[in-house]
């Protein structure tokens, strides 16, 4: 009697172990089984999830019609800098669609794609643009119209952390660029402005979407400084907010690139390149505009002129490009470290 129970107990344990291992092994071929369907991984930044979810379905249909092959696009979203780091550490992205060029440069430096990636697609590999705007509570009760208004006493600014978020780096530079212009190029005065500005930020979220949800769902702060597309998306999702365009802002150019080493390994180069080139077609440009990204195509942009007011925009070249800007502002010991918390 004792013998049988002992045995059955052992069997139970063994079958349990076998089931666990079996389930684990079963899942492996599931992810590796790329024979019939082409698998494509797009590693993207935070606010693009809605746009690419829509775009991926359309691209898959178009690719199927053209070649007869099924293509299943998977997406990973997160803070742009963290996503770049993941790709460098081995997240096998076929394409990256990130918030700023510096992050793709970092991936290129690790040897995964050619350093001249930006020259392979039109507009330096940036199929759509955006800018940095203010999202206030409905009707803008605090009367925040331009950058200096943000320093009014008692105004709470919600922003993401420039160390981890690409959007937050663009928004830092938008504020800084205004200050530089305002104070005749004095970095001393611009630093003072940006220090006072970040004093009014009660909490720095890791990513743009996190900051948006802090402002919308948690109801913290008087103004969210974020991507134009994030602001429009928050309004479209049914929130009582107002979008305010400052007099001057930055032209944010989120780039896209094929990751050479990974597409060669997966043999997905053709579909990966088509996936990115297709972003420039009028239909895709229109779709991007529907998700509040400024299209590059002038005709599509004209069609959505009501959504995208003309603005005085300066570019990253104001700061000598991303490499220089990163070094001056966001690297360890840079301006952000000097002014934040100090």
């Amino acid at each position: 009697m004792t013998k049988t129970t002992g045995l059955s107990r052992r069997n139970l344990l063994l079958t349990g172990a076998a089931a666990g291992l079996g389930a684990g092994l079963q899942a492996l071929p599931r992810t590796a089984e790329a024979a019939q369907t082409i698998k494509l991984l797009n590693v993207s930044y935070d606010p693009t999830r809605e746009f690419y979810a829509d775009y991926d379905a359309r691209f898959a249909a178009a690719w199927k019609a053209k070649t007869g092959d099924d293509v299943a696009v998977s997406v990973s979203n997160g803070g742009s800098g963290a996503q770049a780091r993941a790709v460098i550490s081995g997240l096998e992205a076929d394409v990256v669609t990130l918030a700023l060029g510096y992050d793709i440069d970092a991936i290129a430096k690790s040897g995964l794609l050619a350093a001249d990636w930006a020259k392979r697609l039109p507009n330096g590999g940036t199929p759509y643009t955006s800018t940095i705007v203010f999202l206030t509570r409905k009707g803008n009760p605090k009367g925040l119209k331009d950058w200096p208004d943000l320093l009014k006493p008692g105004v709470q600014i919600v922003a993401a952390n420039p160390k981890t978020s690409g959007g937050a780096r663009w928004s830092f530079l938008a504020a800084y660029g205004w200050a530089l212009k305002q104070f005749g190029g004095s970095t001393q005065k611009a630093n003072d402005f940006i220090r006072a500005y970040y004093k009014q930020v009660p909490v720095l979220d890791a990513g743009s979407r996190g900051a948006t949800l802090t402002f919308t769902n948690r109801g913290i702060g008087d103004v969210l400084i974020s991507w134009e597309d994030e602001a429009h998306m928050a309004v479209a999702k049914g929130g009582a907010y107002s979008i305010v365009y400052p007099g001057t802002s930055i032209l944010a150019e989120p780039p896209v690139a094929v990751v050479d080493a990974n597409v060669d390994k997966h043999k997905t180069r053709a579909v990966a390149e088509a996936y990115l080139q297709n972003l420039y077609t009028p239909a895709s440009q229109d779709l991007a505009a529907q998700y509040f990204y400024r299209p590059r195509d002038p005709q599509v942009l004209a069609k959505y002129a009501a959504t995208f007011p003309k603005l005085d925009l300066f570019t990253i070249e104001t700061f000598g490009g991303w490499q220089a800007a990163q070094k001056q502002f966001f690297a360890n010991g840079g301006v952000f470290d000097q002014i934040y918390g100090g």
């Binding site: 004792t2 002992g6 107990r9 052992r10 344990l13 349990g16 172990a17 089931a19 666990g20 291992l21 389930a23 684990g24 899942a27 492996l28 992810t31 991984l41 590693v43 935070d46 999830r49 809605e50 998977s74 997406v75 990973s76 979203n77 997160g78 993941a86 460098i88 550490s89 081995g90 997240l91 096998e92 690790s110 979407r209 996190g210 949800l213 769902n217 998306m233 999702k237």
Partner: protein, 285 residues
Amino acid sequence: MAKRPAVGLRRQGGVANVIMIVVALVFMVLFLLLPLVTVFAQAFASGLSGYIASITDPNTLSAIWLTLIVAAVALVVNVVFGLAGSWALARFRFPGRLAILTVLDLPFSVSPVVAGLMLVLLYGRQGWLGPWLEAHNLKIIFALPGMIIATIFVTLPFVARELIPLMEEQGADEEEAAILLGASGWQMFWRITIPKLRWGLLYGVLLSNARAMGEFGAVSVVSGNILGLTDTMSLDVKALYDGYNIVGSFAVASLLASLALVTLVAKTVLERQFLTRSTKEEVSA
């Protein structure tokens, strides 16, 4: 005579007791019950059909499946390691035993995010083992094996920590007797060791399993957060929340909470069993 001080205490502390109970209750309601109620309320905000639609979303189903796989494999490893490790540590004295006991607690003291980063530094493309793994076409990080390893790392001590004191308390007498009477090692293991440890073992497994299913930090670092492929349930909760899908997010959260509640009930039942058994055994002994 023996009862009097107890009665006196109860009388003296009458008001204080009530205050303590009220404070404890308020805290329970505010910090445990209300958040739990909110999760379920939000999950059903658009009705049962909305709830079911959220749960049966392909990405969510894949997250549930993945969570179960990861937890199942971690469970097997935890049982095997827990038994072997606690056996070695409780029954034998050897140099370095204390060091191992200390290292065993490492997962408790290291932040899960740091644990995940350690794995990336070890198995990642630029990590120590990265080039070798890549040359042999093995994927650990940003794939299922990495998520399993991360989960095992954070749950490893639970079973062993449960069993070591139990084994030390019980002593090796019965096992030695079995061997002296001619039992083989395996016979002793299955007929003496396991039966004596079963409740403690189950309890440890339950705890580690609850932790495995709810783990966020370590897994999020090594998963790569690919929607529908490497998102576990707790990662899916965040992904859905970030995607403005509040109902979906809370629906998955409510599933996780339900799993935790089931675990708690099972734990309570086991504790009862455990206590009555051990008192019975004591009495019979």
